[in-house]
């Protein structure tokens, strides 16, 4: 390292104090890299190893089974096939319906909260407030409010909809509760993004005779692109990892149809101690998410 620094110094005018060598960026990265390797990369690779075995960390026998855990996921006669794909479908449905709402609604909210008006700070706090609650609090509260026979929501609407027990209403409830819970988070990100768009762009647009809509389309939206990419990506990943809401609000009802992939994987791995199978499922889910993320990045790049 020392020699690297000296070499770097030598190639510069003698008066300049050497500030960095070739190793410097890596040294700055090192603390995070170490954590990343120990807590993310190594377990991820170890997970591949686990997925090739019948793995239970407490049993001495952990036979190597090759790709059996993966082929079981593709074999309709296996014990896991039906449940696994039903859970993947549940995750897909939830992601498909929650992401648009969680991307568009917070944007509208942020636009409103960006305008100057009395009590703006109060409303900013108000919409963000649910996000500070834990998933257990949110789900338990809504489970009672949405109870099909005793809940306040049905009583107010004068209906007897099975919000937590029947389809498609359980999806409406899960998506609705999630939107209510996390809208503030995405809203705050958008808001921060809007505050970063230079005012003079708006002034220039006005000079060019742009109306409100044109300002939004040609100044606000392009200005938010990097923020939107972040919001879309994290929202997709968060939705695809949904677990707590369906675990507490519906308990997978009816008949396991709202049991998400993470929920099922957790059950396989930590309740049934079939960690090899659970690891294989995780990799299939990861692969699907990588695919979605790649498409997402491509779309955003094409637009710019």
């Amino acid at each position: 390292m020392v020699s690297l620094t000296l070499k770097g110094a030598a190639s510069r005018p003698a008066t300049a104090v050497p500030r960095s060598g070739r190793a410097t960026p890596y040294l700055f990265l090192a603390p995070y890299l170490l954590l990343f390797v120990v807590f993310v990369l190594a377990p991820a690779i170890f997970g591949i190893w686990i997925s090739l075995h019948d793995w239970d960390y407490l049993l001495e026998a952990r036979p190597f089974v090759g790709l059996d855990n993966y082929t079981a996921l593709l074999d309709p006669a296996s014990a896991v096939y039906a449940d696994f794909w039903m859970s993947m479908r549940a995750t897909g449905i939830f992601t498909l319906f929650s992401v648009p709402f969680l991307v568009v609604l917070p944007l509208g909210l942020a636009l409103l909260l960006h305008r100057p008006f009395r009590g703006r700070t109060f409303f900013r706090g108000l919409f963000f407030a649910p996000y500070v609650l834990g998933v257990a609090v949110v789900s338990l509260m809504w489970r009672l409010l949405l109870d099909p026979n005793l809940g306040l929501v049905d009583w107010l609407l004068g209906t007897d909809i099975g919000w937590t027990t029947s389809l498609p209403w359980a999806w409406v409830a899960l998506v609705g509760v999630t939107v209510w819970w996390t809208i503030g988070f995405n809203g705050v990100i958008y808001l921060a993004g809007m505050q970063d768009i230079p005012r003079d762009l708006y002034d220039a647009a006005k000079v060019d005779g742009a109306g409100k809509w044109a300002e939004f389309r040609h100044v606000t939206l392009p200005g938010l692109r990097p923020v939107a990419l972040f919001v879309v990506t994290t929202t997709i990943l968060a939705s695809a990892n949904m677990f707590g809401q369906s675990y507490l609000l519906t308990q997978g009802a009816p008949g396991g149809e709202t049991r998400t992939a993470i929920y099922y994987i957790l059950d396989q791995g930590l309740s049934q101690y079939k960690m090899g199978s659970a690891a294989a499922m995780s990799y299939v889910l990861t692969l699907a998410l990588i695919l979605v993320s790649v498409i997402n990045f491509r779309l955003f790049r094409r637009r710019s």
């Binding site: 019948d54 239970d56 960390y57 407490l58 049993l59 296996s78 014990a79 039906a82 449940d83 489970r143 949405l146 109870d147 099909p148 026979n149 005793l150 809940g151 007897d160 099975g162 937590t164 027990t165 029947s166 308990q251 997978g252 009802a253 009816p254 008949g255 396991g256 059950d267 930590l270 309740s271 049934q272 101690y273 079939k274």
Partner: protein
């Protein structure tokens, strides 16, 4: 059967080696590990007293509800009565507990003793989290006759005992006396048979009350299904858990009976989690088949008039679901004979004082206490406890919970009217059989 033969059979038959033999004081040598650990001293020390140096034991359980303070008080009493044993109790949510304990044990930081539900004992025995306790039973001179056969047998896995029963917590029929009176029914004489029960539901319906809310969720929908299935003479699984049997005729009858409650308007559709129990309390339902642990919750409602009775006999024989809390001793990296002896003293003492535990809303497993005048004074507990000879438990097979979770989904789909009882059960049986086969391969048949 002598202790020796039990120990040897276990060691040879299971290859369990490690845990199985830590306690074995007088075994005949069943492998190098056993031989190595035998030097730790005889395990047949006097069980009711401990005279060694002061030891402290970690005691973990999941008594997070109203039962926690009762156990805590018992532990405090024990500590003050035994100056050289200090028990520290840690309480976790049961679901966390079952994930934490095996991890802690495998890291060598496990607690000394704890409580497990009876249907988790076999799995944890197979995974070598808990130690065999045959010698505890022997040295405490506990036998089947001290308990009831199904409760006592439920702690035996592959010929070895792994747990000592503390209590049983059966399902009972809770009822709202005010609601029954309003419908012209006698609250002092709740229904005992299927016919009486349906007649009561019909009367309630006429009075505008949906009497029995059929919940599709495991708590307690699956328990009601299991109780009815056994009442119709069925079994959830074959005794050796080789195959599932819940899709046979008794199972279909049982689930159909529950679904009919919805179809006939005795229950609303789409009953949510816990809604059945809430409905009992706010007078929207008359009956709720729930666990004995509900007693203390209902007592908190000062203005609620309620009672509890054994489940009505709907099928051909009486039967009720029950769980059971059982004492287990966890495997340690370095077995400490003093701690083991102290743990035995503790188990024996708590078991002997389980009348206090009964007040937390439990039926003591120990027969002498169950039959004591003091227990009979606990009217509600005693009413539910009268079902003791008709309780069923899952076969003590490793991973049985994985297969019974499949039943939960079938019950859920049928009561929510998504599938017919027969279809739901038949599909679930095919899946459960595959799970059982997987588990046989994993844990060894």
């Amino acid at each position: 059967m002598s202790l020796e033969s039990l120990t040897r059979r276990r060691a040879l038959g299971l290859g369990l080696g490690l845990g199985a033999t830590v306690l074995a004081g007088c075994g005949g040598g069943g492998g190098p590990k056993q031989a190595a650990q035998q030097s730790s001293g005889p395990a047949t020390a006097a069980p009711t007293s401990y005279t060694g140096p002061t030891v402290s034991l970690a005691f973990w359980n999941g008594f997070t509800g109203g039962d926690g303070p009762f156990m805590k008080r018992l532990v405090e009493q024990f500590n003050s009565a035994h100056p050289n044993i200090k028990i520290t109790m840690n309480v976790y949510q049961w679901s966390d507990y079952y994930a934490k304990v095996p991890a802690a044990v495998s890291a060598g930081r496990g607690p000394d003793l704890g409580i497990m539900h009876v249907d988790s004992v076999a799995t944890n025995a197979a995974r070598q989290v808990v130690l065999p306790l045959d010698d505890v039973a022997t040295s405490l001179s506990l036998t089947e006759a001290d308990f009831s056969p199904p409760v006592w047998q439920a702690g035996v896995y592959k010929g070895a005992r792994y747990s000592i029963p503390l209590d049983v917590h059966p399902l009972g029929m809770f009822y709202n006396r005010t609601v029954l009176s309003k419908a012209g029914l006698d609250p002092d004489n709740p229904p005992k048979t299927g016919e009486e029960y349906l007649a009561a539901l019909e009367a309630l319906k006429k009075a505008g009350v949906q009497g029995h809310w059929a919940t599709p969720f495991p708590f307690t929908g699956s328990m009601q299904f299991g109780s009815l299935l056994h009442q119709y003479g069925g079994r959830l699984f074959a005794d050796d858990a080789g195959v599932s049997r819940f899709a046979e005729e008794p199972g279909v009858q049982a689930l159909t009976w529950l679904v009919e409650l919805v179809n006939k308007g005795y229950s609303p559709k789409n009953v949510g989690q816990d809604a059945d129990f809430i409905a009992l309390q706010n007078g929207k339902a008359a009956f709720n088949w729930n666990g004995i642990w509900s007693i203390n919750t209902l007592r908190e409602h000062k203005d609620l008039e309620w009672g509890v009775a054994p489940l009505p006999q709907i099928g051909t024989e009486p039967a009720a679901w029950a769980g059971s809390h059982q004492f287990v001793i966890f495997k340690q990296r370095r077995p400490d004979q003093n701690k083991l002896t102290a743990a035995k003293v503790f188990i024996n003492w708590i078991s002997g004082h389980s009348i206090e535990w009964a007040k937390a809303g439990q039926v003591p497993a120990r027969k002498t206490i169950r039959e004591s005048a003091e227990f009979k004074e606990l009217k509600e507990q005693a009413a539910i406890g009268s079902q003791i000879d008709h309780l069923y438990f899952l076969p003590p097979v490793a991973g049985i919970g994985d297969a019974s979770a499949v039943v939960d989904q079938a019950v859920n789909a049928a009561i929510l009217l998504k599938k017919s009882p027969k279809d739901a059960l038949t599909e679930a049986a095919a899946k459960a059989d595959k799970v059982l086969e997987q588990n046989r391969k994993k844990y060894g048949a």
